[in-house]
Amino acid sequence: MASSPTLPKLVGSRVKRREDPRLIQGHGTYVDDVKIPGLQHLAFKRSDIAHGRIKSIDTSAAEKMEGVEAVFTGKQIAELLRPMPIGTPFPSPDHHAVAIDMVRYAGEAVAVVVAADRYIARDAADAIVIDYDSLPAVVDAEQAMQGKPAVIHEKFPNNIALGPIPSGTGASPDGKHLDDSAVEKAFKDADVVISQRMYNHRLVPNAMEPRGVVAHYEPGRSFLTMWSSTQNPHILKSMIAGMLGLGEDQVRAIAPEVGGGFGAKINIYAEEYVCAAVSKRLGIPVKWIEDRSEAFVATTHGRDILCYIDVAAKRDGKVLGIKMRLIADIGAYNMLLTAAIPTLTMLMANATYDIPAIRTTLTEVFTNKTPTDAYRGAGRPEATFFVERAFDMLARELKMDPAEIRRKNFIAKDKFPYQTQMGAVYDSGDYEASLDCALKAADWKNLLKERDELRQQGKLAGVGLAMYVEVCGIGPSATLPTGGWEHAQVTIERDGRISASTGASPHGQGNETTFGQMLADQFGVPIEHITIHHGDTAVVKQGIGTFGSRSQAVGGAALHMAGTKVRTKMAQFAGALLEAAPEDIVFESGKIMVKGAPAKAKSFAEVASFAYIPVPLPAGMEPGLSADAYFEPTNNTYPFGCHIVLMEIDRETGEPRLRRVVAADDAGNLINPLIVEGQIHGGLAQGIGQAMIEEAVYSEDGQLLTGSFMDYALPRATDFPTFEMHSTYTPTPVNPLGAKGVGEAGTLGSTPAVVCAAVDALSEFGVKHIDMMLRPEKLWRIIQGQGGAA
């Protein structure tokens, strides 16, 4: 008999994705590809004004159209749905799925149409006539805080949704007791203080697949099946059941292929509740697919935090204290996690530095704009931007190298776990190693030389560097209203193949591959013998979902635990068959054998079969090979890194161009470096996109001026140079894999690094800070001496 080939270990190697064959051949099933007999199409009539009272709604023309099944106004929907719940413990105004008498942002749903096809549904929605009493639109957060020019929600005077809430040194966790003495002392002892107003502007997430829902209520079964382009089908299931008065056993939620999420598909949206309620009411399946122009206003936005920052330092560059006053423009309503996102900006104000005193205060403000919620990075890129830009300003003020000022202030690698001023406990880190890795990769000294040579040629060239640390692997149950664990199940089938499921619901992260790699190694079987199920609550019994860079750090850990349970039991069955102690059993290359006695072996399939036909059943054992596990992390993980860019700005046109982007990232142990690289690339593109070209712009009357791809600059391939990728590896002690999470990391360092480079490039004009994004016109004005910068 030929000996079986030895299987390579897969964890840690660049395994090609198992998801790809279907996706590169057009065989993926996204929500809009779901078809059910009798399916009707649902469309929304949306407010075209930002703020106003609904005087009348005339649906008669729509109702008369051929093919129209039903029309619902907000009042009629309110008979089916109570106001939508949120996921944070903060006060919130009533938010109806469809507006009843007031509209508070352009794009808010005001009526619903159900029709035979999507064209008719759209026509009918357009035929609904609404008469509004317009009110002044609130678009400026600082004006809004004075109640100007209007108050949006009666019960929230001066449009203040939350705060000001203090956090940091001398603040009790509940914010009720405040001792400012340490912070005041830091500023008294300072040789130099840097103060700057910085704006981390509003972005539109723009996953390439807009949202979409299919809801199918079967009256005979009292059972609702929902397909939705969501990051967390289990949360969707619970929320829908709660709102519709169904048991969680009566709802099945399916996230099929999901075409990107970036945080904007965490929220449980009005459209999901409405589709479910309408399907139940009419007893027919309905489908709603978001148009892109609809997505621009109806899907949550990201960022939009204003910061007044002060940094106190000694002349040698040692930072003594930081003050950050944050004002978050959250738009018109609280969504699922809206209120929590800016609190993450406070949490990460310590950045990678050992800072003795920090005071942050946060105020969240309602405006007549699309609500904000998570967007890739979600609160952490904002913190990173503010602190890193301020450090850069300090370095410039003190004429220090931007790398050296960071080195001077780092949390030393022997200080971990490190308790920050902000209440976080950083799990592990080696920031100096990351900085050195990036400096070496960028060839820092020569990079500065290259910049200076470009300048000697008369060009505007600049170098930017930024460190980051991120809170990921979210998160212990105390930090999430849904619970912060993840669930997995592993079953060895009777034929020795493996079925596994995970509550981490991917939308591009490649969990079928990475989780397959892990199980292949754990059981010594080919990855082709493993199927990873996800995204369907009927198959995956419990779960939380994918956000906060948690798939691997929490979901992967749960899978590892479930796998370990099954492996232990399988070793017991094998031990019984091979007459050996279970602890002497090894799994290798499709065989299960006795350690040191390779002749004593059974095939993996033989042991699997024995577990299901256990004759005789070993004493004290149950048949079967299946286990599930819940992993509850004891802490978050804190990945970190350093990003460096070289930028050139055209002196004639103000157009900035990136010549180099160098990234050194540390996500702990990596399961699949190829996938990790892809995740960081994507993050870099979004981080650089924010700095350079992306911006949600509102007019004074509350219209989103950048409401389509004609006006909102989504980055194209030509916007980037080749990213230069490097890694350090500092495992986390928080989970058994040592993996920290990497989905959002790229968005953190890149944004401030780009702006630092622009400021450096324009330093000959005395520029100290530039607000994003780096529109050529803005840079041109600076070059022309027309202002526009600090």
Partner: protein
């Protein structure tokens, strides 16, 4: 309703459509070819890209009646049986996709790109993709994927 006759992925198809039916909706809803995706409503994103008479076209910007009498190739028609097209192979080998939503359009655009220029430089590839958005990859692995296919002489 207007009668149309289109060869789709090598197979002649006859149908009656409303004049306003977009080609992408005809392909997706009537022929069940759901590989071409709709990612925008302003012809920017390119997720719906197919080949019409050998040239890439955004099928959300073409009425089905305009394609009458022409030959259309969609992502589903690109592989020869089990044999992936070199670009499909390249996207797989080089991790040129994450969520996969832009991928069919991206690949069909790349087919056109390599038809026009079998040995493109990196800059030419990036320029050639300017009609296709990807929000996941930052484009770098897509560039690698196209270089992979070009090196294999793949069109």
């Amino acid at each position: 309703m207007v009668p149309i006759s289109i060869i789709v992925n090598g197979k002649p198809r006859k149908a009656h459509v409303e004049p306003r039916t977009l080609l992408v909706h005809f392909l997706r809803e009537q022929l069940n070819l759901t590989g071409a995706h709709v990612g925008c409503d302003t012809s920017q994103c390119g997720a719906c890209t197919v080949l019409i008479d050998g040239r890439s076209a955004k099928s959300c910007t073409v009425f089905a009646v305009q394609a009458d009498g022409s030959e259309v190739v969609t992502i589903e028609g690109l592989a020869k049986g089990d044999q992936l097209h070199p670009l499909q192979e390249g996207f797989w080998e080089e991790h040129g996709l994450q969520c996969g939503y832009c991928t069919p359009g991206m690949i069909m655009s790349a087919v056109n790109l390599l038809n026009d220029n079998p040995k493109p430089s990196e800059a030419q590839i990036r320029e050639g993709l300017s009609g296709n958005f990807c929000r996941c990859t930052g484009y770098q692995h897509i560039v690698n994927a196209i270089q992979y296919a070009a090196a294999k002489g793949g069109r």
